[in-house]
Symmetry: none
Subunit: 213 residues, 4 copies
DNA sequence: TATGAATGAGTGTTCATTCAT
DNA sequence: GATGAATGAACACTCATTCAT
């Protein structure tokens, strides 16, 4: 079994988008500098323009890719299992990862939400629909089977995504806060993202469980 | 003859900070322009510098005020009642409001989280501690009384704050999405912020309820 | 009679437009650099933007002023006399000057003509109408009085303006040509602009004279 | 076996120069983009460099060709007839055409004049001499024969060339002006280039006619 | 205290040119 | 010969900040 010759002949455009994902995640659209995007990708600034276009085009490429990958990962994971509770577990698990693609998705989406989606391209909209759909299906299935109680699907979505994106993204703030106020912070605040996912799973499943016999 | 009690204690600095709250909430730190801050406050740009200082100083003033007010509102509301379930209700209720001070708090904090709190002043840290404390106390009290089960306090905090800030801030995105994909969106996605608060209350209380008799 | 305290308190904007007239006349719109415009005016580039606007706005200000002055000079000179032949003389005399305002008018207008007036602002159009009107009136008057024969006014206009703008503007080329081909060039090619004006006057008056007794 | 007489002697370089003539005529040297020159010629940008050289080399090739053709056309037309008045007619007729080669000659030369011939290559100088010579000969011949009066040859040259280049090139401006100020413009302003040539012929011959018996 | 004007240091973008294939 | 890709050097324009009044 070969480890995959992946990213062996990544095109220049791919290299740029990869590097830009990191920069935009870190600095935001307005805070990122085109010079920085180019430097991070190891290409000349003019090459960036030649390959992709202006700053906005690079951003769109980044957000499109990040959201598409997120939706792909979620849909694939959810589709792998039949049981609706397991679907929820997997859905949450994807969002709990603060590595790879997800490392960029959280900060980018938080900022997009904050600015009313001013820079969200059309393509992004569709991907968000896929995410919503994957969760909604699981919830409706569980409701039909009597496992879950009827709830506002979208609010459950907000809860999962909101809590996990917030938790993973605010790590630097937590660390700073803990330094200043060690009396308030304890090990509860510094569980791994995987553990955070498990906690959220536990809370969410309890929240939607159908306790009526 | 008194000069009129006009602008009683709305100093120029206050006017500037109020206007800046709106601009920073809308555009973010990097996206806001000093010209815009001055124009929004109806003062000359040099006056802004004279009264408060540079862009960063204005931002710090804004975030300090917004967080202080949020913590004040939460603490006051929670302190008014004794019952721990009611404390939770009130805590959530504050965050569910997307008006007044809260209108600025959500986008500003989402962006701060996204950027690792790069621009958070020291003062902000303390206010966040007060918020955490108010919720934690209620949870611990409920746990002691057997009403709530033991949970990761911080994760519950993330859930409440994350879901409500996400819901209230992403309204423009939902509207756009709904226009493009009417088949996915329904009235569940467009409940008022107050109703959203009630949904979250319901879900959270179910999530932490101690069902073991 | 005081020599006029003119240009004593020229505004910054005026200084910029004056300097820009020279640069645009010399280099053309595309050839001029904004840095150069600022340097020529002795102001910071940002001041130029603050006072007037972008490159196009500066160009419009220049062309508007240059054409307005040209039309003013022509109309004033023509209005001073009653006799139609004298009006023609004066009209030509203005265009023959390659100094002051006229030094800029010729190259700027030649380039505008060459590019189909792509950058001509609306205001310029009106000034060109005033010029046309001044000459046309004189020609029609002369025709009525039997002094001039009926001719295509506009073509006479083209002749006067074309020959004089061409002559005054192509001096550097003539000088270069004369250096390379001294056998072709003689003193006829290097008369002063005033003399050139007289030659054109002589030729034009002969061209339109009514020789029929 | 010959590879077919395809594109008989329209080499790639020729194609490029033809296309470049149009672009430079339209936009000027500074306004033209190398990308545009290549696209207009239907070749790759690097091919343009390989075939001709840098932007300046392309421009020189264009101006050299355009001036050479103009001089060729003028000299051939003038040489075809003996009578000096007819020579003048033909000289003017060439310049009156706003088609083919002449379509490029007028705007290119107007801009060159405006910029003091900054980009004129040596070769261009010689061609201009040929033009001057052709007209001068006709004028001197007419003067000797008593048909024309003594005039400044060069000024007559300026008149002919100036009026015709100005008229043909400023058509777009006339059209725009006429739209805005229909009261000033009439059919006199919109005669064909051929008619304009006849008008100029009429005026010039009247201007230089020897009326002394 | 308030402000119009001025400015140094960026900041996104373009362009002529070169290079590897 | 021909071309897609790459790039250094400009270039137009912006922005946070300061200063004279």
């Amino acid at each position: 079994m070969h480890i995959a010759a992946k990213s062996q002949h990544d095109t220049t455009a791919d290299t740029i988008i990869d590097a830009a994902s990191e920069v935009f995640a870190d600095k935001g659209y307005e805070g990122a500098r085109v010079d920085e995007l180019a430097r991070a990708a190891g290409v000349n600034k003019a090459t960036l323009y030649y390959q992709i276009g202006d700053k906005e085009a690079v951003y769109h490429a980044v957000i499109t890719r990040v959201l598409a990958r997120t939706a792909d990962e979620v849909c694939a994971a959810v589709a792998e299992v039949d049981e609706c509770e397991e679907k929820i577990r997997r859905f949450i698990n994807i969002f709990a990862r603060n590595a790879g693609n997800m490392r960029y998705a959280a900060p980018i989406m938080l900022r997009e939400v904050a600015s009313g989606g001013r820079n969200l391209p059309e393509s992004a909209i569709a991907e968000m629909g896929r995410l919503l759909g994957a969760l909604g299906e699981a919830l409706r299935e569980g409701e039909r089977s009597g496992l879950f109680r009827p709830v506002n699907e979208f609010m459950v979505h907000m809860m999962i995504v909101g809590s996990l994106m917030l938790y993973s993204a605010n790590e630097p703030i937590r660390r700073r806060n803990a330094e200043r106020h060690p009396e308030i912070y304890n090990e509860q605040h510094f569980i791994s993202n995987e553990e955070a996912g498990e906690q959220v799973t536990d809370l969410v499943l309890a929240a939607i469980a159908n306790n009526k016999q």
